[in-house]
Symmetry: D2
Subunit: 263 residues, 4 copies
Amino acid sequence: MIIEATCDISYTNESEVPAIFMLRPKSGWAQWIVEDFYRVFPQVQIVEYDDLYGNLCQRLIMPKGEFKIDIKIRADVQETLSVDFDAPFTPTHLLPTDVLHYLLPSRYCQSDQLGDLIKEMGLAQVPTYKEVEAIRRWIYENVEYKYGTSDASTSALDTSKSRQGVCRDFAHLGISVCRSVNIPARMVVGFLHNLDPMDFHAWFEAYLNGRWYTFDATQDRPRGNRIVVAYGRDAADVALTTNFAPSKLNFLKVSVNALTESL
Amino acid sequence: MIIEATCDISYTNESEVPAIFMLRPKSGWAQWIVEDFYRVFPQVQIVEYDDLYGNLCQRLIMPKGEFKIDIKIRADVQETLSVDFDAPFTPTHLLPTDVLHYLLPSRYCQSDQLGDLIKEMGLAQVPTYKEVEAIRRWIYENVEYKYGTSDASTSALDTSKSRQGVCRDFAHLGISVCRSVNIPARMVVGFLHNLDPMDFHAWFEAYLNGRWYTFDATQDRPRGNRIVVAYGRDAADVALTTNFAPSKLNFLKVSVNALTESL
Amino acid sequence: MIIEATCDISYTNESEVPAIFMLRPKSGWAQWIVEDFYRVFPQVQIVEYDDLYGNLCQRLIMPKGEFKIDIKIRADVQETLSVDFDAPFTPTHLLPTDVLHYLLPSRYCQSDQLGDLIKEMGLAQVPTYKEVEAIRRWIYENVEYKYGTSDASTSALDTSKSRQGVCRDFAHLGISVCRSVNIPARMVVGFLHNLDPMDFHAWFEAYLNGRWYTFDATQDRPRGNRIVVAYGRDAADVALTTNFAPSKLNFLKVSVNALTESL
Amino acid sequence: MIIEATCDISYTNESEVPAIFMLRPKSGWAQWIVEDFYRVFPQVQIVEYDDLYGNLCQRLIMPKGEFKIDIKIRADVQETLSVDFDAPFTPTHLLPTDVLHYLLPSRYCQSDQLGDLIKEMGLAQVPTYKEVEAIRRWIYENVEYKYGTSDASTSALDTSKSRQGVCRDFAHLGISVCRSVNIPARMVVGFLHNLDPMDFHAWFEAYLNGRWYTFDATQDRPRGNRIVVAYGRDAADVALTTNFAPSKLNFLKVSVNALTESL
């Protein structure tokens, strides 16, 4: 299915503001970018580069005054997520070297400190897709989705205690538990069709049976129609916007719509 | 200025044809991709990856029957090329390590075998921008632009003798001469506004004074309004389309238009 | 000066233990590896690869029984650290793209949460080398070096409160404060001549004036004669040994000696 | 088996000579560097970096006067090459993306121009390990190994006509034929135990059945005990020494010896 995501952002800056945006998705093996529109007003010089994880980043200096960003993405994506309850654990000595990185603890995913939670979840010794799905469901059922209960400093350890949070907290918790049992896991940010209320979204992927699988602990069942914008170890790596000086955000509007096949 | 390039390609395949396309430009420091449309019919799975040079490549298997590719790019590019007659030679021991690669001879650029031509050109010992411009002009004045005089196997060495060729031959010759005097040089393929007749185009860049400068030996003067699609050592690296089985090309149409600022 | 570092490690394993070691230094711009000896008993298949940061990593499966690792490195290194009190802050919009990564908070360096400490330190608005040196000295004077007061889960935030720790805690604190004022900072692990008691060591580097400078908050003055083994965002990235199953460490002995110039 | 390779090089320079060496091997999946000694006299600053192919390169400026390089490598390598006559062709659409590069023609391997030779060899449509071995044997039997018959500009196309050359020419021919039938192939330089006369050596690898296999057309049968120093598309990529100014080579001595297991 082809889905269209748009994002309109407006800032007002009192002075020049160096910034990095991560707002241009790349095509991957399950996502084809049919159309990509990325316009800023006023037009300034922008340098685009790949970060350590292969995400496209846009560096620029926002001028004084109002600065607007208009983005539209049309992507051909999977309506249905790949689900495979029989996908086995990949033993650590068989993991590809570029995946090992996703076993490490990170800013928001203290996988080394979640012993109590792991016990409470009662995970199997050799976890498979089924166990990751159980982790996801546990989070869905035991953590309350609630705006305003967490902030930019909230980590998985915090959420394991508060049992409240938003999509990034749900993802951090899922990632942390996976890593604690030696399943590589990574943060994903992007768009989800029919998310309510509509906004940027975050979820996670776990590496099983030689590939990445998508998991979203904010939803009651596996749902496709996602556009991946960036991957990272956790939210620290995938900030969609980073400003290096004060900047007033006027608005940030996100929309995601399904298109018929015939463009 | 914003220019719009389109490309329509149609193949007819008697069987499945694995292919690699290099048709999606990236934003760089002098080019901002405002809009990018890339559609294939019928829609098949496409995997996009970065090659060794950072070019985006699209891998797919064209199905039996007709296969079409529609591309549209709108890019904000420089109307006027950077020109700096005083830009000095960068001594080899000061070149960034990722540029050293472009000093090496390659399939179509036998920089190690152009001694006679170098003599004929009478190059200075320590070449600067001025000398590269003189090389470019020498090629412009001494090589005849003529379709059908070269083919996919024609190298700079061939062209140094035949003194005939098309844009890629002009670029190969310029690259080879630069490398022979230790100036890193690379092949560029993309679009040029007002090229006549319109087609994909090829030119080269030379590394001087710590940065890359654009040179085009097919033109009588420096001209901007270019969209870079891919970089490489020579044409072997930057084939815009590669088919791994026989495929009939029905047509390949290219257009490049200037847009007014206000989209 | 040429210094020689050795490291002997012995494990006893009850079963096969997949492991990753990070024990082979690379030559860099201020360190030349003259000699490198790396032997394991029994000899098993080892695969060596570069991680995300360019560190050489060794993957292997330790067999059942005793497993020994013998390492000897002779490196030509700087006796005196580069010190430049006038090195200015590099504005974020001028940082190389591959350095931006080191501005982000990480597992042990919650640079986003050290507001109180920053206030206590009274840092200048636009910090230079002088300020980083002041940070280093503040840590040296205000944090007590004491074994057993921290463990593998201790972060800079913890240390900012406990004011006790070992070399890695000192480094984490320095890194965190630098990042909080937009100075890229990274963790370094390796060897330091005349460290007392001798052991692996950790310190940090800060990016100022277009290059990395070395800082070590465990020492009362800048000291050279270091061998860098690995770089990373924090200790999570640069574990010198990682075992993916239980393994009994029998001993780990480190020695560092100065050699006369004439090998 | 552990083999020891040494290399002593002496230059006399009339002035400073910027140079790049590629003389430090890396451990790989079939080669473990137990010991590595790399010393230059006089000691100058050396910067080591990874090139595009992952080879370690050493950049330096040789001072005026005599300059010496002493190298000793002890490596644990396979006594017997992996041989698998049943290893099938890997279809191009299943090749890993980082291998595709080795399908392209290059400076010395004009795989696009060897049609006549391919016909003469009578290759199967879908070539397997058996065919690559037949190519290797064909070269061994039909090309005469003779010093002085080729030089730094000799390409596979030249050798296909002259039927004379040295190890690098044999490798270039093998690589070119493989690529012409869509088998990725790459150049290898390094050391071979019991090579007669002793020198640096060159051979090639072909990608079949999801991995690289070693082939050496200068030998009558598969022989192990090799140390790989560098990989590349062809000899242009893997020059062990590159001088950017005139330099007089006094001598270059290579030795390779087998060691008993007990160091």
